[in-house]
């Protein structure tokens, strides 16, 4: 009868556990000993059959005998194997005594393979495991879109510029940058009221500019472009306008260091500033003459 089973299911007609590939046939049955679809390793077509299966890290020996062929529920008998490798092999031998050599051998081979992969699992879990987190496409798209919108709303350049100007106003940079336009305005107001205090203030500012001039000169040693302008300035007669003009030159030097396109507006700005300073120095010369 088992031969009949094989003739119908196994070889000829349809077996739901059978998978055919180009070179081989596989058997998907969970009780199959090898993995292949053969006459000798089909659990359906053999009356006396045994397999090794493992559950939660423990190995069991499953056996099927002819006497229980009528009782599907009690068909497969299960024996727990010892954790000790050699002892388990002996247990297999003693359970499958008088069984065909093929099944015994294949059982032991299967048991060896299973224990090896269990050992490997246990070793790997101790090491670092890579956790795969699935990406959700909808969420990813949503976040990307939100990021773009946030970028537009942020207006980063403006914000950074504002913050830097704030810091400049709050004097966090100290005396490095001399845009003392406010200071000059204050000086003008003071000058209208009192002349002496103003000249003192101007002297102090000159000192400051001297300090800054030194800084700027150090930084500008590498700039070859504006040396001509510097020479022209140095030849001018009066001291104070010369200093101030030089300082403004240095400021424009520093500007040109960072960004080349700034040279245009820098040049344009110079005449305006020069005019301002000239106006201021006239009264001081008057006071000094007096």
């Amino acid at each position: 009868s088992w031969q009949v089973v094989w003739d119908t299911l196994g070889n000829r007609q349809f077996c739901s556990y059978k998978i055919t590939t180009k070179t081989q046939n596989f058997c998907r049955n969970e009780y199959n000993l090898t993995g292949l679809c053969n006459r000798s390793s089909c659990p359906l077509a053999n009356s006396q059959y045994a397999t090794i299966r493992e559950e939660k890290g423990r190995c069991y020996l499953y056996m099927k005998t002819i006497e229980r062929a009528a009782f599907p529920r009690r068909l497969w008998e299960r024996v727990l194997l010892s954790k000790n490798y050699e002892k388990a092999l002996e247990e297999i031998d003693e359970n499958l005594i008088y069984w065909p050599r093929f099944i015994r051998h294949k059982c032991k081979q299967r048991f060896t393979k299973i224990t090896q992969y269990l050992i490997r699992i246990r070793k790997l879990t101790l090491k670092r495991q890579r956790k795969l987190v699935p990406l959700r496409r909808k969420i990813e798209r949503r976040e990307k879109r939100r990021e773009e919108k946030a970028l537009i709303a942020a207006q980063l350049d403006n914000a950074i510029e504002k913050e830097l100007l704030e810091r400049l106003k709050q004097d966090t940079y100290g005396d490095i940058y001399n845009f003392p336009i406010h200071a000059f305005d204050k000086a003008l107001q003071q000058q209208d009221a009192e002349s002496e205090s103003e000249s003192d203030a101007e002297k102090e500012e000159d000192d400051d500019e001297d300090m800054d001039k030194r800084e700027f000169v150090e930084a500008d040693d590498s700039d070859l472009s504006d040396f001509e302008d510097m020479d022209k300035l140095e030849t001018s007669s009066e001291e104070e306008p010369e200093e101030e003009e030089e300082v403004e030159e240095k400021a424009s030097h520093s500007r040109s260091k960072g960004k080349t396109p700034l040279k245009g507006p820098a040049r344009r700005k110079r005449p305006y500033i020069e005019i301002e300073y000239e106006k201021e120095t006239e009264p001081t010369t008057k006071t000094k003459a007096a």
Binding site: R128, E147, I160, L165, I176, P265
Partner: protein, 273 residues
């Protein structure tokens, strides 16, 4: 329909001339933002006290100098490696070390022994950096970010040179809530406390709607009211995923804040940073 209403309104305004009612303020997400109860008040004493006693206090009291270790996940690809190098030029006193399969739990005690103050791990996926773990080392908080839109230096349209060795300034924008405050302090503790203004470089962490944009610029004051900035250095955006109290520990760590998508992403006007 809307266009018609707009046109009508504009005509009315023009017709009224000076007596027209003032223009309505447009509604933006920032305007409509759901008020977060953990927003930090500048004068809040409790917050000030907390900040004086938390893990960054030694940094802000100028007792420790930041020393940073930058590393990646296993087997970094070229893009990530280049990004690491550029990041190390941006952050002064930082070193890049390759991670050849070393466990984070083991390198952390080694880092502490060698006096590092911060650890940055850049996680990679499919040849792109996509995650950043920033942990303050001597037992400090660990923040895990998702990193997106990373631009290397050569991809940015500008004509600047590389960042110099000067210590840059730091700008932290828009970190309003308590959580944002602590994250902002984490970022600030990466850079040495005294910036060198000669260098004229500034690193910006700008928070907008829970996205932190990082930019690195060189600035120049054209006049008192105008400043020019030139972008140099890499740029990237971060989104905070979780904040842990101790150093990096995925299993036993005490999470101060995790981004839970179901609960936190429900409203369009609610932000946490």
């Amino acid at each position: 329909e809307k266009l018609a209403a707009k046109k009508k309104r504009r005509k009315e305004r023009e017709a009224l001339g000076d007596k027209a009612p003032p223009k309505a303020i447009p509604k933006t997400i920032e305007n409509q933002r759901v008020y977060d109860e953990t927003t930090v008040d500048p004068n809040d004493e409790e917050v000030a006290f907390d900040e004086a006693t938390d893990e960054f206090a030694p940094y802000f009291n100028r007792q420790t100098v930041p020393k940073i270790l930058i590393t990646t996940s296993d087997r970094p690809r070229g893009r990530t490696v280049r990004f690491c190098e550029q990041l190390s030029t941006v952050i002064p006193n930082s070193h890049v070390y390759y991670r050849r399969g070393l466990a984070l739990k083991r390198i952390i005690p080694q880092c502490i022994a060698r006096d590092f103050t911060d650890l940055i791990v850049i996680n990679e996926d499919r040849k792109l950096p996509n995650g950043l773990v920033l942990s303050h080392l001597p037992d400090g908080p660990t923040a895990h970010f998702r990193m997106s839109s990373v631009r290397l230096r050569k991809e940015i349209k500008r004509k600047g040179k590389e960042p110099t060795e000067h210590v840059p300034e730091v700008i932290l924008n828009n970190f309003t809530t308590r959580l944002g405050h602590s994250v902002g302090r984490m970022f600030a503790s990466l850079f040495p406390h005294d910036p060198q203004f000669i260098g004229r470089q500034v690193a910006t962490f700008h928070n907008q709607r829970d996205y932190i944009f990082f930019r690195f610029h060189r600035y120049i004051f054209k006049s008192e009211k105008k400043v020019g900035i030139q972008e140099l250095g890499p740029r990237f955006t971060l989104k905070l995923r979780s904040l842990q109290k101790g150093t990096f520990d995925s299993k036993f760590g005490e999470y101060e804040w995790i981004h839970k998508r179901r609960e936190m992403d429900t409203s369009r006007r609610k932000f946490h940073l």
